[in-house]
């Protein structure tokens, strides 16, 4: 081990150093809290530059981590996502007088976890990354100590998350028992050459891993925590909770299946088929009945996990590409949607704005209403937004693999989802609101809204750059 190893983890090291600096700043005698967010964003910016530019591709840390275009793409997306999530959080935290260094510090630690998960080339590393992502999120979900809903969210997430981590760990143990190793390449060799101790043990191990991942990305029936946690958590945190773990979870699971378990997936097709069908149906049907915007977006995120599971089912070049494209669009639009919801909370009594909070928004803030509409249309999959293209690529890849009925179900689900995505739009444009004064739009929210416009509209009209980026990233593993 030496300098090449250190250089390969430079983004992670920069983030950890920044997170520690934030803790030191927070424990100063008179903390300068207005500098905290800028410091965190500076660290993320440096990490982004190093993630894209530094170090050669290859295996590092005795084969524990692998740097390749796939890891670089997902890392860059995770870093951008974290930066935007912090920018969404700043005005929210300041308005509720809860701005403290711990929030940003924990966000950066969670981001390190995401980067490690997708770079990992060994299951122990995946577990380490998964826990480094999860534990800060448990704390952040319960960050508002004085709100009982936030406490409930934190505790629920912790208890169920710890339980899911147990499944994950047990899966690793079974796979180690069967193949005698936890490294991707070693397991792949044992499975493909048939030298594993027992195929049953391998399959059981993968099944338990799948349960762990399904919890993290909220696939039904492991999604029960999602609506309560996303609703109770601070809204700026729900934005990250519903995007970050999904990004890292799906990216890691796809790589794991593509690199290691491709040969055994035939035994799991039925199970994943059911998971995908159940998740999108449950998510969409439950979202229909929600009045709270946060709960509606939470169920919508469950439904999107169901669509993304189609890519896990198929796992070929086309589906992998479609999944990365879909993930990119999904995380940025969902983040912006939650960011806008966090603004709507202002002046509401319950801190959980319902659809009626949108009434008359088109009069009060025409641009904000337009941005929210764009986000919802993209999530629903209307052309010409990028959400439509993502669904098109994903369903097309699934159809090519021969899952006609699943694609029919997915399309029907998309139709159902239009109803609940359009309810806030109708409220914004067609119903007069009580309040007519314009909401002040914080400057920090503008980058998130711009990212939304670029990815939802820009990639919708001119998809070539994003298509090229995701296609070259996916060709590293599939």
């Amino acid at each position: 081990m030496g300098s090449a190893d250190i250089l390969s983890t430079l983004p992670e090291l920069v983030l950890i150093a920044t997170a520690l600096l934030l803790l030191v700043m927070e424990s100063a005698a008179e903390p300068h809290r207005e500098l905290l967010a800028a410091t965190a964003l500076g660290g993320l910016a440096i990490a982004l530059v190093t993630a894209l530019g530094y170090g050669a591709d290859g295996l590092y840390y005795s084969g524990m981590l692998q740097v390749d275009p796939y890891a670089r793409f997902v890392s860059a997306l995770a870093l951008v996502l974290a930066a935007l999530a912090i920018m969404v959080a700043v005005p929210y935290l300041r308005r509720t007088l809860e701005e403290r260094g711990e929030y940003y510090s924990l966000m950066l630690f969670a981001t390190v976890g995401m980067l490690l998960m997708v770079k990992a080339q060994d299951l122990t590393m995946v577990f380490l990354g998964l826990e480094l992502l999860s534990i800060p999120l448990y704390v952040l979900a319960g960050f508002y100590r004085h709100r009982s809903s936030s406490n409930e969210a934190g505790l629920k997430y912790l208890l169920l998350g710890a339980f899911a981590a147990g499944f994950f760990l047990f899966g690793i143990a079974l796979l180690y028992g069967s193949t005698g190793t936890t490294s991707y390449s070693g397991m792949a060799q044992a499975i493909n050459s048939g030298t594993e101790l027992s195929r049953v043990l391998t399959l059981a191990g993968f099944g338990l891993l799948l349960v762990g991942f399904a919890f993290k990305v909220a696939l039904a029936p492991f999604h029960m925590y999602a609506p309560d946690v996303y609703e109770g958590a601070p809204t700026s945190m729900s934005a990250f909770l519903s995007t970050g773990p999904k990004l890292a979870g799906f990216a890691t699971l796809l790589k794991l299946i593509a690199v290691v378990f491709a040969g055994t997936m035939v035994h799991w097709w039925t199970a994943i088929w059911i998971l995908a069908a159940l998740t999108m149906t449950v998510g969409n049907l439950a979202a229909l009945r929600q009045d709270s915007l946060k709960r509606m977006l939470a169920y919508s995120s469950v439904a999107h996990a169901g669509y993304l599971a189609l890519a896990i089912l198929v796992t070929n070049y086309d589906s992998g590409f479609a999944m990365l494209f879909y993930l990119t669009v999904y995380v940025l639009t969902t983040l912006a949607a939650f960011g806008i919801v966090s603004l709507l909370e202002e002046g509401e009594e319950s801190a959980m704005p319902g659809v009626e909070a949108c009434k008359g928004l088109a009069r009060r803030n025409p641009w904000l209403a337009a941005a929210f509409t764009l986000a919802l249309l993209s999530l629903a999959g209307f052309p010409p937004t990028a959400g439509f293209l993502g669904k098109f690529f994903l369903f097309n890849a699934t159809l090519d693999a021969g899952y006609l009925w699943l694609v029919i179900l997915a399309v029907l689900n998309s139709l159902v989802s239009v109803y609940y995505y359009l309810r806030p739009v109708v409220a914004m444009y067609m119903q007069p609101g009580k309040n007519t004064s314009a909401l002040p739009i914080p400057r920090m929210l503008i980058p998130a809204l711009l990212a939304l416009a670029v990815v939802a509209l820009g990639a919708g009209f001119i998809p070539a750059p994003l298509v090229h980026a995701t296609a070259s990233a996916i060709s590293a593993i599939l």
């Binding site: 190893d5 520690l20 803790l23 030191v24």
Partner: protein, 121 residues
């Protein structure tokens, strides 16, 4: 294949049988003499006073958590020390590695100190 695990099943049965047998045997064979003193709650020999469900100060939990964290830190130092000599021959990386780990813990220590975890008034 499954047959390989038969000895483990026997160990399970033996363990369960031993536990149940010992409990059952004392239940059946042992004499039972009940007195008022014997049936009272045992509190280190002192007469029990007041309800048993009392609230504990949250500081106990904080100290407990901090203790566990720093206890685990020391556990990580041992395997590091075992391979130190062998790895140090290949360069100072292993030293920096542990220094980095200790700096991370030190910052955590500074943080909890400044946040008043150790203050008891």
């Amino acid at each position: 294949m499954i047959g390989d695990y038969l000895p483990i099943l026997f160990v399970f049965l033996l363990a369960a049988g031993f536990a149940l047998g010992a409990l059952g045997l004392t239940h059946v064979v042992g004499p039972r003499i009940k007195t008022r003193v014997k049936l009272s709650a045992y509190e280190s020999g002192v007469d029990p006073v007041g309800p048993t469900h009392s609230r504990l100060n949250v500081r106990y939990f904080l100290i407990g958590l901090v203790f566990i964290i720093f206890d685990l830190e020391v556990v990580f130092l041992y395997p590091w020390a075992v391979i130190f000599r062998e790895q140090a021959a290949q360069g100072p990386f292993i030293l920096y590695e542990m220094l980095f780990f200790l700096v991370v813990l030190l910052v955590g220590y500074l943080y909890i100190w400044r946040k008043g975890v150790f203050e008891w008034e």
